[in-house]
């Protein structure tokens, strides 16, 4: 069902705030929603969830009208659970109680995991009998995610739902969750201020800025576009595609080949050899060197060719576009450094990669 879409046409004015624009979002895979604080990302999710009845919005889920003129399908009949930024667990219920609450109200025909799979995915086993009041922020987010997935959802709405997870858990969860969403055929809208999260999770990105819904674009284009990632999140980056070629159990590193170049990354031991994988490399985590350098702790080094250098006016920075094994990479370095190295298009450099996140291919 590649043609199913969520169509939104917003003319949402409330007090001094407005949210306008139209978009047609694919009801498959993950659509990221990006934008600065206060842009209207959370409001957009609330409108789609049915928690905001403001007149003037039109929402159509595939062939179903959720809101049009005075017609309004209430939130509890949309089966589009929203995972709130502040989790909003029911404090009078235990963790199990929270999951059961959603499970008992799940309608047939929804998508999602069974309880055992859920506990395994979100590592909920040690939390199940706990009182929600005693949980840490990250634990709450895991339970809130599990609760939404228990509700038999047809569309999952995530509002900064990973922000409190500890970095290691998030790094492992996101690629696996992404894969499971495809498996469950459960479309998701993911609001995030982190380009890294969206790079790993999203197929498309919908920018929202100043109460205006922008144009849906493919993730790679969004990451590359200076109008997208660079300006709205301050964290530009690029995606490299490679293939997992081995695990080193002693060093806890995973080998990844990009073209004929090998790099090694930690924390990916759960992924099988031979799989194609996408790496998100933040522009700030790339250091450039003119020659092979010794005596550095950075071990991932890729030969690259400078494709273009873009100044960022009124800042100390410039973005260097690189070509690595016929793929594109972006490095953000100071203008002073670029001048000192007298970089120009066509130069050959070594890109030293400090860190990267992994995003598995969806197919």
């Amino acid at each position: 069902m590649p043609d199913r879409t969520l169509d939104i046409d917003l003319d949402h004015r409330r007090g001094g705030f407005s949210l306008t624009g139209r978009a047609s979002l694919p009801l498959s895979g993950v659509t990221g929603i990006a934008g600065p604080n206060g842009a209207g990302k959370t409001s957009l999710l609330r409108v789609i969830a049915g928690l905001d009845r403001t007149r003037g919005n039109t929402i159509r889920f595939d062939s179903e009208t959720w809101q049009y003129d005075t017609a309004f399908l209430p939130a509890h009949r949309r089966r589009a659970p929203l995972v709130f930024q502040d989790s909003r667990l029911f404090t009078h219920l235990s963790v199990t109680g929270n999951l059961d609450y959603a499970g008992r109200r799940a309608a047939p025909g929804g998508h999602g995991p069974d309880r055992a799979e859920l506990i395994d995915l979100l590592q909920l086993a040690p939390l199940m009998a706990r009182r929600t009041a005693d949980l840490s922020g990250g634990e709450r987010q895991r339970v809130a995610l599990g609760r939404a997935l228990s509700a038999g959802p047809r569309l999952l709405l995530l509002d900064e739902a990973f922000s409190a997870l500890d970095a290691g858990f998030r790094q492992n969860l996101l690629p696996v969750l992404r894969e499971r969403l495809t498996h469950w055929q459960l479309p998701a809208l993911v609001v995030s201020h982190s380009a890294r999260e969206l790079a790993v999770m999203a197929d498309h990105v919908l920018p929202v800025e100043n109460g205006r819904v922008g144009t849906l674009c493919p993730r790679d284009a969004w990451l590359a576009g200076s109008e997208g990632a660079g300006d709205t999140t301050g964290e530009p980056g690029a995606v490299l595609t490679g293939r997992i070629t081995g695990h080193d159990a002693r060093l806890h590193l995973t080998d990844l080949h990009i073209g004929e170049h090998r790099i090694a990354l930690p924390g990916l031991t759960g992924l099988s050899v031979g799989r194609e994988a996408r790496l998100y490399v933040p522009a700030r985590d790339i250091t450039l060197a003119l020659d092979a350098v010794d005596g550095l702790s950075v071990r991932n080094r890729l030969p690259a060719t400078v494709a273009a250098i873009t100044d960022r006016p009124d800042t100390a920075w410039c973005d260097v576009e690189l070509e690595v094994a016929r793929q594109r990479l972006c490095a953000r370095i100071t203008r002073a450094a670029a001048e000192a190295l007298s970089l120009k298009p066509g130069d050959t450099v070594i890109a030293l990669i400090k860190s990267a996140s992994l995003a598995p291919r969806q197919d």
Partner: protein, 224 residues
């Protein structure tokens, strides 16, 4: 003491029935007050709070006029129930419901407002209808409010005097409650009986209040 037993039983019966009716009436009223955006809300709140400040004799006087078989309501009641509202237990219950209404509504309204919209949004998003969300989320989260409201309404009804005297009179076994029996004992200089009843009322009121505060300590505020 044995001669006081009918008054004690009648008082407990009146307070229980009144509290139950108040739960039924007060819960939706408090819910509406906690959620309405109408500009008439302060007026409704003021009317609800009026029994707190009015002399009980004023409430009793108007109710007595309303209960008169010659009036519309009093007459209708006589035709339906075959008895007058004035000087009957039914009349006392109605009077007590009005008199204790603020003690039910205000704690509930505060509790509902404290629960707020956030958990209801979460419940709706997970597939709970508004009524379902009220029963499964708002009520448990408002447990302290319900305990406080029930306890206060009960004990406040036990302690009422003026309204009962105006509406119910002093008919033994029918409308003579403890507070009025106590008044009679003092009038007839039977201080021993008066002491017993007065001490009993103090003990009962204190017990209920201590129970309310104790239970509220055991169930800390869940919302938030």
């Amino acid at each position: 003491m044995s001669e006081s037993l009918p008054a004690i039983l009648l008082t407990v019966q009146l307070a229980l029935v009144t509290t139950l009716i108040l739960f039924v009436i007060g819960t939706p009223l408090a819910w509406w007050l906690a959620n309405t955006r109408t500009r008439f809300k302060p007026i409704v709140e003021a009317v609800t709070a009026l029994p707190l400040v009015l002399p009980p004799t004023v409430i009793g006087f108007y109710l007595l006029i309303l209960f008169n078989p010659g009036s519309a309501i009093g007459g209708l009641w006589v035709r339906l129930a075959g008895d007058t509202l004035a000087f009957s237990l039914s009349g006392l219950v109605i009077a007590s419901v009005i008199y204790s209404l603020p003690f039910m509504v205000q704690p509930l309204q505060t509790a509902f407002e404290r629960v707020g919209q956030a958990p209801r949004d979460a419940a709706a998003s997970l597939g709970a209808s508004p009524l379902d969300a009220f029963v499964s989320v708002v009520m448990p989260l408002s447990l302290r409010g319900f305990i406080t409201a029930g306890g206060l309404s009960f004990i406040h009804t036990v302690g009422e005097f003026g309204v009962v005297l105006m509406v119910g009179g002093n008919i033994p076994g029918r409308t003579r409650v403890v507070s009025i029996a106590l008044y009679d004992h003092v009038e007839t200089l039977d201080y021993a009986s008066a002491h017993a009843l007065a001490l009993g009322l103090v003990a009962a009121s204190l017990s209920v209040l201590v129970a309310v505060f104790l239970i509220n300590r055991r169930y800390p505020v869940h919302a938030g």
